[in-house]
Symmetry: C2
Subunit: 512 residues, 2 copies
């Protein structure tokens, strides 16, 4: 991290020092949203309170501050940056961004919209997707203006660039059936830094920008409960600072932006049972669903709580894509070149969490790696099938069918690109375990609060809860399952985070 995001002056600076020594409100164990009548006095007052320091929260804070609001951003952990800071830092952008144009990558809003709306789950939030695509070039310009460094370099290699390239195919655009739904274009925009440091660099820039604008950033402050007026409007938030509850009056709006719930095992079991079984919770340890739960307790609706990404990152290296992936019946069920999120979704949600990558000599991992362990090895497909106890003759038939067509450059079932298509031949054959419990199978949640286009949180009757906004993985946004491209989540966080911040700052709050 550069000094900006870990600078003690940020982390220790506080609007909250000098709080009244007596806590103004006590959180009743088990209370849902607190009625304002339970708050005897406020410890402080602010225009906009942002909860969470990932990309959604910081973008909200920047916009709210630029709109003239006094903004306090609180983070429960000691480190700013949230799960965005731990991510690849990819923003899915297109429709003709400045970087796409500079690199002669052709794209259109229409094709981007087609891809995002058609290649994932049925009935995605079309209004959000349309807005996101239409404003994508302008949003990318804004990211650049915040100081995020992008290089004018692209790479055709699959997978997050480990060099300093800033544009690549971050999703499943080129794999069948997506490539028939929309013209593929490179839309993964990633900070131009060597190594997997894009998320850190993205957050350094955004945090530095927020600081320079005068957003107050405060770590080790957790939000516990929303405080509601009797008419349902959000009056403020009870937070915990150094073990003590404090009551913050929020004059314009609260922005919930503190992430999903992949680290909350109880919530996973209740809401997203299939993600519960995935081996690696992917995200910040405080992705505990707090923001979602605070919203629900205040009457908000939460959508698609079962959905998330569950990724099977079989490539790089790309040579393994010439292997085949099979289910417990020894059948192929997907093009092996599909993006990690699409393959992972198929295994997690639709194949009971089990699959195997079958490789021959050339398509084998040719280095020591721990993501997927070889569970069978032999001089023939028969040997592999016997070791794994596939249904009699099933894997053999699958390979025979695949080879028979591959030799003619054809993959009738899943239309694997010619780049990767060739018969499996040449011992040793190996089977690699892609099961969600045994493999390296990162997962993250996508379910969250129901929001309108400006981040207004909606109740179960579709009405706005006044004073309450949310963004990022506190909301049900652009990312659904299957996750069709890296960058859709951080893209959604930054884009809708900005809108939530602007709307919160403009809210006509009760100034009492």
């Amino acid at each position: 991290m550069t000094k900006s995001s870990v600078n003690p002056s940020i982390r220790r600076r506080s609007l909250l020092t000098g709080l009244a020594a007596t806590a103004a409100a006590t959180v009743t164990a088990g209370a849902a949203a607190l009625p304002r009548s339970a708050v005897k006095a406020w410890d402080m007052s602010i225009d906009v309170l942002v909860i969470g320091s990932g990309s959604a929260g910081v973008c909200a804070a920047i916009e709210a501050r630029q709109a003239g609001a006094e903004v306090l951003l609180i983070e429960s952990l000691s480190q700013l940056g949230g799960s965005s800071g731990m991510s690849g830092g990819v923003v899915y952008a297109g429709g003709g961004t400045a970087l796409q144009k500079a690199l002669k990558v052709e794209d259109s809003v229409e094709q981007m919209y087609r891809f995002v709306s058609l290649a994932g789950d049925v009935h995605p939030p079309l209004d959000k997707i349309a807005l996101y695509c239409e404003e994508s070039p302008a949003h990318f310009d804004w990211l650049v203006a915040q100081g995020i460094p992008y290089t004018q370099k692209l790479t055709l290699a699959k997978g997050l660039p480990m060099g300093d390239e800033s544009l690549y195919f971050s999703g499943t655009e080129q794999a069948w059936p997506a490539r028939e739904l929309a013209t593929p274009a490179m839309r993964g925009h990633v900070p131009g830094v060597v190594g997997m440091n894009g998320g850190r660099r993205l957050m350094e820039a955004l945090l530095s920008r927020a600081e320079s604008l005068g957003v107050s950033l405060r770590t080790r402050v957790s939000a516990d409960r929303l405080v509601t007026e009797s008419d349902g409007r959000i009056a403020g938030v009870i937070v915990t600072i150094e073990g003590e509850p404090r009551a913050i009056r929020v004059k314009r709006g609260v922005v919930l932006a503190c992430g999903g719930f992949i680290h909350n095992r109880e919530m996973l079991k209740l809401y997203a049972p299939k993600l519960y079984d995935c081996s690696v919770p992917w995200g910040n340890v405080d992705d505990q669903g707090d923001g979602i739960n605070m919203g629900i307790a205040a009457g908000a609706a939460a959508l698609r709580m079962h959905e998330g990404f569950a990724i099977a990152p079989i490539y790089p290296p790309e040579n393994v894509i010439s292997g085949i992936v099979v289910n417990a019946s020894g059948q192929r069920f997907i093009s092996e070149e599909s993006y990690h999120g699409v393959l992972g979704d198929a295994i997690t949600y639709h194949q009971k969490g089990q699959a195997w990558l079958i490789t021959d000599q050339e398509s084998s991992y040719n280095f020591q790696q721990d993501n997927f362990l070889p569970v069978a090895e032999g001089s023939s497909i028969n040997a592999i099938a016997a070791q794994l106890n596939f249904p009699s003759g099933a894997l053999q038939q699958t390979v025979a069918y695949y080879n028979q067509h591959a030799i003619n450059g054809d993959d009738p079932m899943f239309h694997k690109s010619l780049t990767y298509l060739r018969p499996l031949q040449g011992a040793p054959y190996k089977a690699w375990d892609l099961s969600v419990t045994q493999a390296f199978f990162p997962a993250h949640t996508f379910g969250g609060l129901h929001t309108a286009l400006d981040g207004e949180v909606l109740n179960s009757f579709g009405d706005i809860i006044p004073g309450l906004y949310a963004a990022g993985r506190n909301t049900a946004g652009i990312p659904t399952a299957p996750y069709i491209a890296s960058g859709l989540s951080v893209g959604d966080c930054t884009f809708f985070g900005r809108r939530a911040g602007r709307a919160a700052a403009a809210a006509n709050g009760d100034l009492a």
Copy 2:
């Protein structure tokens, strides 16, 4: 319907006649839960208010009344009985019920628990399942005591009995892999009436019982909003009677029991997008999610909102089970003898809503039926495959593999029972469309409010919302996706409805 459930004396009788002419409260458009301060005066007062007249609501009302409470049950439609009255009326019961014993059907609580907990979705609600199984024999005795008629007859035929048999295999117990998880036993208990009238007969008995106990039953009264005290306790309910809002003070507890949301297209798209596409909404037209939405607005958590049943009722006739079901890749993916709910789940949730039943002369539907239309017909499998544009050679390979093993009495992939296993041979071959949008594909929702074992509604922090109870498809209960047996939903409704009613009656309400 017998006179008991349509008796004008029930439908017209009302505790609400003589209400104050001026409405005591006005429901603000878009209000979530109403604060009690918004209620100027109550129009009436009752110990327990039950919302919904399906099996969950009526069982709750019976138990609450028997516990000494004054009980009002309201129904939004003009007809009592809810979706239970339209159902088969099957209750999934076991562990040695009186009927199982009389018919020499061996069963144990342990095997029933194994089946219900292992054959469906991962991480089901084990506490509810355990209680349900342990108390199943006693619950069945209670149903008998309410006057529901069961005959001492069973049938081995698959599918809801059209004769007067009262016990049958209502689920997927005998199909692989379920039969390896638990010893199969007949657990579908259905009123002994000829024709598909079990649900009507069940509700007639329960409604008659409720009436005789002195439960006030009122139709054409819809519930709009819960009224909450400032501490979150439920104070009452705003209802609509003849177009006017009325405020009902509830002294002990409100029981939400007004069904799922399969008829609410907007909710389906938001919460359960895959069920949105299914052709036939299965249930009462007022399954609009009102109870769920009222609960959410009061801060309740809702679980598994994406889940439901989506059924592909390919049998009877059983001869078609000797056909094979294939996906868009021409692959089998399930044992064709699986219960309708299991097959339907596989198609709806895991095969992108598409599948085909392939039959030969003997396994064809041999009568005019409209549930599934033939979309290809020919003298060979080649002809079928060509007409449906399956991947080159894929269906042919599937049939060859299936036949090669079937002739030896083996089904290596899905272990179809020998009863149904034989090679496909003998033109004409046909393909029947099992797609969710084109076939007869009934669907219903399973997601609902998070409840404790006595129906107490829980908020997002896992705490009880005082005074609020729910049961049946207003809750996330025993039924999850896949739906593994008929009778789990009405079984859950009746069993947990009773508990919710008892708990509501016993609640130490504010008598102010």
